[in-house]
Symmetry: C2
Subunit: 321 residues, 2 copies
């Protein structure tokens, strides 16, 4: 029989946030520590002490089923954080094994977008859904693909990088990955700000956004301007929604999901983003899938979602061999 | 215990080919009937008689595990052939149920490309592989996606239509699906012939292909010319391989397959197609996947592949409820 609680851990470059979560997705208690501890062993010790304290205070000692961790470049198969991340320790970091030995609890790790998909499937809007694709619209564009009730990890544990599908093969924007034309370069929060800066240069249309230094414009500024009826700001969301809708139509032919679940700051733009998105998706969708695919917004509170998503992994975590 | 043989059926618009297949993928015996029988019941009767005769002649009565059928627009989940196909009967056709009741054997159906993927996984070059993508390069471009050892069907049974990913969003070629810029419009046999016709018009380069009426050029003609060193014909394969390689790089971020398995007439072009394909795939691949994904050619004989692929479904077929 499963124990009634799991620990969810959201490990970011700056902070590590963790919480005790029940089967309904309620966070009983949560806390955080700084991630940037120079020596890994010290970080693990601080993490262990803080989590143990939280468990004790909540009075749930011995009632934890497992620990789920969402971390950048975390590989579900190997349990390790692989190279190329903004963390202070040498990679690969065999994180699952280290935490498992420390806590004597089974541990599963994955990246943030896959954890988000698990969270939606376990506690959120995708409960009971067997085929959906989670799209996280934050600083970057992440994705977690669920097929037949399971997150797709691929042969190496790194499947589901839909932010790096090329949506513009000619004159594409430079992406952080070193290539040009990735979806992430357009449909992330930073992509929105870039589009705004481009539009301000290429047009003479008056805009509230001209009142601030161009390099300081954020996606939030563009949203605020659009809500006030600013033409350029609205055009930016039209463009962003259209790009994303076109991409989602293409993703559909791959796994034929019943829904895309959108999460992240950009979704606050609501219909400013969703109307052009749905129109573009429909226009670009091959007939056999048209009208079949829902666009859903995450129902998880943004501040809780990362911990909840990670915690969802804890229910299925198994001890390593 | 499983019985030692399955029946594989390749149901095309013109002919229905079927064979008795063993666990190693050997075809013991095969035969065919015409598909274009005006009344469905008559067709089923003819099919039943022909298959029963084949089983009897091969001396394997009572030793058939199940029947697998590859057919256009065949839905694995519903067991039906859905609308929009070139068959003489009203759709949907509850084919699996009809055949099951006739033969008293479990029946599974799927489309040709998914059947091909099953065939490669069961008897071919993808044996033992858990994550790969089958790409069929024929008159059209089909695909069968295998994740964690299972063909991806999606929420409605129609996943894996990678021939209809848009690879050119601007000035894309008209595709048979009614949209413009699909992979299939470029990287199919008909796509190759179209590219040749375009190149012959847009260039003044001498070419063997100018000796025949432009509208009669086939991909085979382009291949023959390329083998003889014809510059335009070689450029056509360069273009086709590059387009396909770019697309495969994009597909990789979805499911992170360990290989793409290519099948169909176009693969006969060998390095003419594969060299530019590998180069473009490598050039367009995001760093985390570079060098990890194999390009394999099907090892199944083209004349047998459709029956073998369909037969592979027969091993797992179950009686409907």
């Amino acid at each position: 029989m499963k124990k009634p609680y799991v620990i969810g851990v959201d490990m970011g470059g700056t902070n590590t946030v963790f919480g005790i979560v029940d089967a309904e997705g309620k966070i009983l208690a949560s806390d955080s520590i700084k991630t940037a501890v120079p020596v890994l062993e010290d970080y693990i010790e601080q993490f262990y002490n803080a989590v143990t304290k939280l468990i004790k205070e909540a009075g749930v000692e011995g009632q934890i089923q497992g620990i789920g961790i969402g971390a950048p470049n975390a590989n579900y198969f190997t349990g390790a954080i692989e190279a190329g991340v903004n963390l202070p320790w040498p990679t690969p970091i065999p994180l699952a094994k280290i935490i498992e030995e420390k806590f004597k609890l089974p541990v599963a790790i994955t990246n943030d977008a896959n954890a988000a998909a698990m969270g939606e499937m376990t506690y959120g809007v995708a409960r009971g859904m067997k085929d959906f694709i989670m799209i996280t619209l934050g600083t970057g564009v992440g994705s977690g693909i669920v097929i037949d009730g399971k997150v797709v990890y691929g042969h190496d544990g790194f499947a589901g990088e839909l932010g790096h599908v090329l949506v513009r093969r000619e004159n594409g924007r430079m992406c952080g990955c070193g290539r040009c034309g990735c979806l992430e370069a357009y449909c992330s929060a930073t992509g929105v700000a870039r589009t705004a800066r481009e539009y301000l240069v290429s047009s003479t249309e008056p805009s509230i956004l001209r009142e601030m230094p161009s390099e300081k414009i954020t996606s939030k500024d563009v949203y605020d301007a659009a809500v006030k009826g600013d033409k350029i700001a609205k055009d930016v969301f039209d463009f962003t929604g259209t790009m994303l809708g076109e991409a989602l139509a293409d993703f559909t032919v791959f796994s034929s999901p019943s829904a895309f679940v959108l999460f992240g700051g950009l979704t606050k733009a609501g219909e400013l983003l969703l109307k052009p998105l749905r129109e573009a998706m429909d226009r670009n969708m091959i007939k056999m899938f048209r009208g079949k695919v829902q666009i859903l917004l995450s129902e998880l509170k943004e501040s809780d979602a990362a911990v909840l998503g990670a915690s969802a992994l804890g229910w299925e975590a198994k001890f390593s061999d």
